[in-house]
Symmetry: C2
Subunit: 370 residues, 2 copies
């Protein structure tokens, strides 16, 4: 069960509210920090809460391999295991099987692959992916899909999309209980008609939410936006819409403009660990020597813990010295930036001023550089 209500609209942009079966409220549009291995890298759950995160993403593929879904279940489920009591969405493992695992083989029945950790062999059926997610106990589970690579022929894209639909049916059938919502994933690569056909088939099966997969996988930015432009208006109005694995701050703004409600991406956390920091006037690379004596915070006026307490010079020092605190302070700042961006977007949509807000956003972002 997953309640969802659109509470305001501004153009195609939607301001919504999602309530999980466990009673956790998620205000949308929302950004979900990625907590791959039962932790959003470097942060404690309390820090995530104080950043205002309401929902995070867990990676089924990683958790299945380590520590194992049955172990997590024995220990009370993923929420309890990682001491995170707000919402969790788990992906189906599909994307990771295709991007991380070794020697995979796609069959009608499922996917055979070798673990990137120890080379062990595994076979994941759509039913297995759902069972793993049930054991993890996430609030929202994703259908097992084939992440279509880019570029790909139209024939392969169609074949892959049809299989994803058949797998989605099997996922839907294998569902047990009402505590976990299940989202379908729209595939079809960059072919708008395939995307629409996929969505139609998924809607016939019926899901609590609809995700757009395999975008931002190498195609030009304009292609991604034009696929979304065509597909988004077809997504059911009354259900949450999730753009998977996307993206830059600009991508989030454009996604919202086209009617997307949910996003996840490793960008704010991964970039943080590489010293790339987001600010409203552009990005900066903290190891740059011009910050060596810079007593200013990353962004003046930013209210994150890092900016309230530390200078760019200190953060540069920590980063160059490879100190653990560097990754954490940078992550706190970048996630604060992303979550505050989404809060600003929600306010703008609610106030009916999204378009002027968006214009300001681009003007500010182009003002700075690294």
């Amino acid at each position: 069960m997953l309640e969802f209500r659109v509470v305001a609209r501004d153009g195609r942009a939607r301001r919504g509210r999602l309530v999980t079966a466990r009673g956790v409220t998620v205000e949308t549009p929302v950004f979900m920090p990625v907590g791959t291995q039962a932790t959003v890298k470097s942060l404690s759950p309390d820090e995530l809460e104080s950043l205002g995160a309401s929902i995070i993403l867990g990676n089924t593929y990683h958790l299945y391999l380590r520590p194992g879904a049955e172990r997590v279940a024995r220990l009370g489920g993923l929420h309890r295991f990682m001491a995170w009591h707000r919402a969790i969405l788990t992906d189906s493992g599909g994307f990771q099987v295709f991007s991380l695992a070794r020697t995979r083989a796609v069959e009608e029945e499922g996917v055979r692959f070798q673990s990137h950790i120890d080379g062990s062999s595994h076979f994941i059926r759509p039913e297995t992916a759902m069972e793993i997610q049930r054991l993890l106990g996430s609030d929202i589970a994703m259908c097992f899909d084939e992440c279509t690579p880019y570029p790909v022929t139209r024939d392969y894209a169609e074949e892959s999309m049809r299989r994803t639909v058949r797998w989605a049916e099997r996922c839907r059938r294998s569902r047990t209980g009402d505590h976990q919502a299940v989202f379908g994933i729209v595939q079809g690569s960059v072919f708008a008609d395939l995307r629409k056909a996929c969505l139609e088939a998924l809607q016939e099966i019926g899901f609590e939410g609809y995700a757009v997969g395999s975008l931002s996988v190498g195609e030009p930015k304009e292609t991604m936006l034009s696929v979304l432009e065509e597909l988004a208006p077809c997504l059911p109005e009354e259900r949450p819409r999730y753009l998977m694995g996307v993206g830059t701050p600009e991508d989030l703004v454009e996604g919202v403009r086209l009617g997307i409600d949910m996003f996840d991406c490793v960008m704010p956390t991964r970039n943080a660990r590489n010293g790339a920091l987001f600010t409203s006037s552009g990005n900066l690379q903290i190891k740059n020597s011009r910050f060596a004596d810079d007593s200013e915070p990353i962004e003046r006026g930013c209210t994150c813990y890092t900016c309230r307490r530390f200078s760019r010079a200190y953060l540069r020092h920590l980063f160059l010295a490879r100190e653990l605190l560097a990754y954490r302070l940078n992550t706190l700042h970048n996630l604060h930036y992303y979550l505050k961006l989404m809060a600003d977007i929600r306010n703008a949509v609610e106030a009916g001023s999204f378009e002027s807000w968006r214009k300001d956003f681009y003007e500010r972002r182009s003002g700075g550089s690294s």
Copy 2:
């Protein structure tokens, strides 16, 4: 300037209070977490505060090489640079020059060495070491000394000790202002008469505190204790006594028993990063497979953040997955253990029950194992 007052005694053990020139109070006996590169690895200054740390140690050698003492001074000093507003003691760099740097050469004038970071050449005089510490702005500076290796001939130990005394005179002379206290370091290896001769010479020069150096550098534990047993009663009553680089929980207890007031050691923080955790009933290695499904905290009843929120099974998972949060949660626990141990010791000394507390401590510690 450094106020120090012994407020209670129990046998040779002392319960004292130290007030820095900046007005920060440090209750002794005290353990100082090591913040080598302007950060206690993985922790924020707020976490250190909530653990109850009142004074930390900074490493002059590391900070001199990176980010540079003059840079730290330009940025407002070490306290401000790392956003730590309680007390800081800096070592003199002597120990690190002897343990980390490449191709060092000891001369009467000072020590020539190559940086372990980039191989660059440096020459540190006693006066340089004091100037670096002045630029860092620590509350307590240490004299530049030669860390005598073990084992060593009596002749070399004496030669080295005499040089350390001559360097101590130069350190004392080069002191500027009253804001930074300076401690002398007693050398003389395992030769009690050399240690006493060194102490006498240092007292003639006159310091705000006296440290015992080059113990726990490879000599048998009994040798360390017998040197301390002979030396400690000679240390001036009215000045703080600091046992450098020591040690295990047992070492701290024995140090206090013999009249030591201050300790520092990388053990709680380094062990944490290696998965070795302290408990009152012994140590445990978190990666041990017997913790795979263990829903208990590291130590039942422990009030640290880690034990209040997470299971051994989760900590084991984080550690095996090399997640950044592992190092931090383990460090929080180990430092909590050390700082709570010192608080318990202070209470016992103040209550005049140190000996019975000590007996209990050993009984509990021998109760567990990894």
